[in-house]
């Protein structure tokens, strides 16, 4: 078993709404949305974990909480066996970096690419005035952009090239863990393929560990060693990619995988899944998936299922009817 670089235990992130004065007087609790609600996840060194689920299930919130963009509301996070809290040191922040979905809005439009990278490198003292230029050039080579890109503004690039700049920005900090949040979703198929290949090369060459968040299940299968399926703030199934795809256990995973259009000739979509993702509630009675579940029993209304081991394989699912 390889070393666990980042692990979350019972991690949660609740967004709490503003409380009205009247609510305060009446002692009413403010609105709370548990976007991430008790997630256990460990990331073995050098692996890519694919995180899938429908919009609104909490994928991005989980990613942002792991990076530290959102303070967590409960549970614990450990980085290389050291507990990390909500106020991270520079070094801890550097270790976990994020690649954002939208390369148009995640870059400063008024800053040349080279200036942006220099600022990051100098602030984190990863280079001094003499070596900073050399390091910028190295970064451009790493992500497959010409050196001239350093003198250009983000608007002068295409979507795929901007995403490469976003990757260079993340890599400038020499991270151990990359969180890619829908990093290729906004790109055309052909460009998407080149960014996916680049990420896989970088992961291998630099020994990175990656969390790949996407709603595109075909892409996730392509890049991931392990898959985690998320539903309403919880992870409902987790395991080796081949295991989860060939032998899905949780009824939600089955529904999700059955909905993906396939490239196989003559493929015809399976039975239409019922219902849609309900809005997140503050509290749940029993299993969160019961309203859409084809195999729900009366016990599901009262028991909140925990992740349990499936067979002897490296695979777990949270359902009491397995």
């Amino acid at each position: 078993m390889s070393e666990i670089v980042l692990s979350a235990t019972n991690l949660s992130k609740h967004f709490v709404g503003k409380q009205s004065v009247i609510g305060k007087i009446r002692g009413k609790e403010p609105l709370s949305v548990p976007a991430v609600d008790g997630v256990d996840l460990s990331m073995p060194a050098g692996s890519t974990i694919g995180l899938v689920g429908e919009s609104g299930c909490g994928k991005s919130t989980l990613g942002r909480t792991l990076v530290g963009l959102y303070p967590s509301s409960g549970g614990s996070l450990s980085l290389f066996d050291r507990q990390i809290g909500n106020d991270r040191s520079l070094e801890e922040r550097r270790a976990v970096q994020m690649i954002f979905q939208d390369p148009y809005s995640s870059l400063n439009p008024r800053m040349k690419v080279g200036d942006m990278l220099e600022e990051i490198l100098l602030f984190h003292k990863l280079a001094d005035k003499e070596s900073v230029q050399k390091r910028c050039v190295e970064l451009m080579e790493l992500v497959g952009l010409p050196v001239t890109a350093l003198q250009a503004y983000p608007r002068q690039f295409s979507g795929g090239q901007r995403q490469r700049i976003g990757i260079a920005r993340a890599l400038a900090l020499e991270p151990k863990i990359l969180i890619a949040d829908e990093a290729v979703s906004a790109l055309d198929v052909s460009v998407q393929a080149s960014i996916v290949n680049l990420l896989q090369d970088l992961k291998r060459d630099l020994g990175l560990t990656m969390l790949f968040i996407s709603h595109n299940i075909a892409i996730v299968r392509q890049v991931s060693d392990r898959i985690a399926v998320m539903y309403l703030g919880r992870i409902v199934e987790e395991g080796l990619t081949s295991e989860v795809f060939n032998n899905p256990q949780h009824p939600y995973t089955k529904l999700l995988l059955g909905s993906v259009p396939k490239m196989t000739p003559g493929s015809k979509l399976g039975a239409a899944p019922q219902g849609e993702l309900p809005t997140i509630q503050a509290r749940y009675e029993g299993c969160r998936f019961q309203s859409r579940c084809p195999i729900a029993t009366s016990a599901c209304a009262t028991t909140d299922p925990a992740l349990i081991q499936i067979g002897s394989k490296d695979h777990q699912a949270a359902c009491i009817n397995l």
Binding site: S158, S190, N197, S259, M263, G266, P273, L277
Partner: protein, 341 residues
């Protein structure tokens, strides 16, 4: 021979942009019959959506059809008055857009939007149009239709909004539905529901489908015929079954290889290096040649026409033998991001 429902002949569309005149569509021809399902695929900017908009007369102000003919049910649209043209189009063709929230009227109840066509255009009574709207809402699988009739678009989820948009497209009982990336913004589970609905309509009502998308897997699931578009032209045309197995254009081959498949995990994805052709500049030679693994001198000199091959149509000088040139190490193509200047 019966007349096709929709026939487009050598359509050209130009757009005025800040970078100059852009030749967005450069000669597109197309026939669709009742019950057909045709998928048009291509990258952003290849002209897929513009083709649909040009047919429907929905081009933005800075774009215009410069030449070509469009026949709906055998009638040349150019011979009709603006009013008659609109009447004919709205009777025969319904259209569903990608972004349902932008396509719906935010200050009108969804039921009233669906009932509008039967009431206004078909001259039905209010009660009859109302009943029709409820019927359509049930047909497209909106639960509790009576209750949802009185809601506004913002009160519905994305999947339901797209269903309302489909119900509106169906409200005039069209024989053909244009779908412009109708499921791209939806989750896979909801996408599966919407695709299933469109497939059922095709079987039940013999509604023709023209489906514009960048998702090849979606085309594989619901279409019989495929047109691959590149730089404002069709570069390959054929049946889905055949094209997916034996593409006869290097671009189609590359697209198929670059799309990940949920059923298989491959070592690397094929990637197409370079950028799509800049259509504000005159096209000399094949527009795909700079990105093509099989390009020769000939390709940069003359643009190939869409010609019949063994089992499909292909616009490639090397349609018969390009497969011999697929690089053995094709997976290394473009992985270093070269040609991204």
């Amino acid at each position: 021979m019966n007349t096709p429902l929709l026939s487009v002949r050598d359509l050209h569309v130009e757009i005025d942009t800040s970078r100059g005149l852009l030749k967005a569509i450069r000669g597109v021809s197309l026939d669709v019959n009742a019950g057909d399902s045709l998928g048009i695929v291509g990258e952003s900017g290849s002209g897929k959506s513009i083709t649909l908009k040009a047919i429907m007369g929905l081009l933005p102000k800075n774009a215009r059809v410069t030449s070509g003919e469009i026949y709906v049910d055998g009638v040349d649209l150019a011979t009709l008055s603006e009013k008659a043209r609109r009447a004919l189009l709205s009777e025969k063709i319904g259209i569903v857009f990608q972004d349902a929230i932008a396509a719906l009227n935010p200050v009108m109840r969804v039921g009233a939007q669906i009932a509008e066509t039967p009431h206004r255009r078909l001259g039905w009574t209010k009660d009859k149009s109302h009943a029709r709207a409820i019927e359509l809402m049930e047909l497209v699988g909106i639960p509790e239709a009576e209750k949802r009739f009185a809601l506004y678009p913002h009160q519905l989820s994305g999947g339901l909004r797209q269903r309302v948009a489909i119900a509106i497209a169906l409200s005039g009982s069209p024989q053909l539905i244009f779908c412009d990336e109708p499921t791209t913004a939806l989750d896979v589970t909801i996408q599966a529901q919407v695709l299933r609905l469109l497939m059922e309509l095709r079987v039940k009502e013999r509604t023709g489908l023209v489906f514009v998308t960048h998702d090849l897997a979606v085309v594989n699931e619901i279409c019989d015929e495929i047109r691959v578009m590149y730089a404002g032209r069709f570069v390959e045309s054929g049946s889905v079954a055949n094209t997916f197995q034996h593409p006869s254009h290097p671009y189609t081959y590359s697209l198929l290889k670059s799309a990940p498949d949920v059923d298989h995990q491959s070592e690397r994805l094929f990637s197409i290096s370079g950028e799509t052709a800049d259509l504000t500049k005159p096209v000399t030679g094949c527009p795909f040649a700079p990105r093509c693994f099989a390009a020769t001198q000939l390709c940069s000199e003359s643009e190939p026409a869409l010609l019949a091959q063994a089992s499909s149509f292909s616009a490639c000088h090397h349609a018969a033998n390009f497969t011999e040139k697929i690089p053995a190490d094709h997976f290394s193509l473009g992985t270093q991001g070269k040609a991204h200047s």
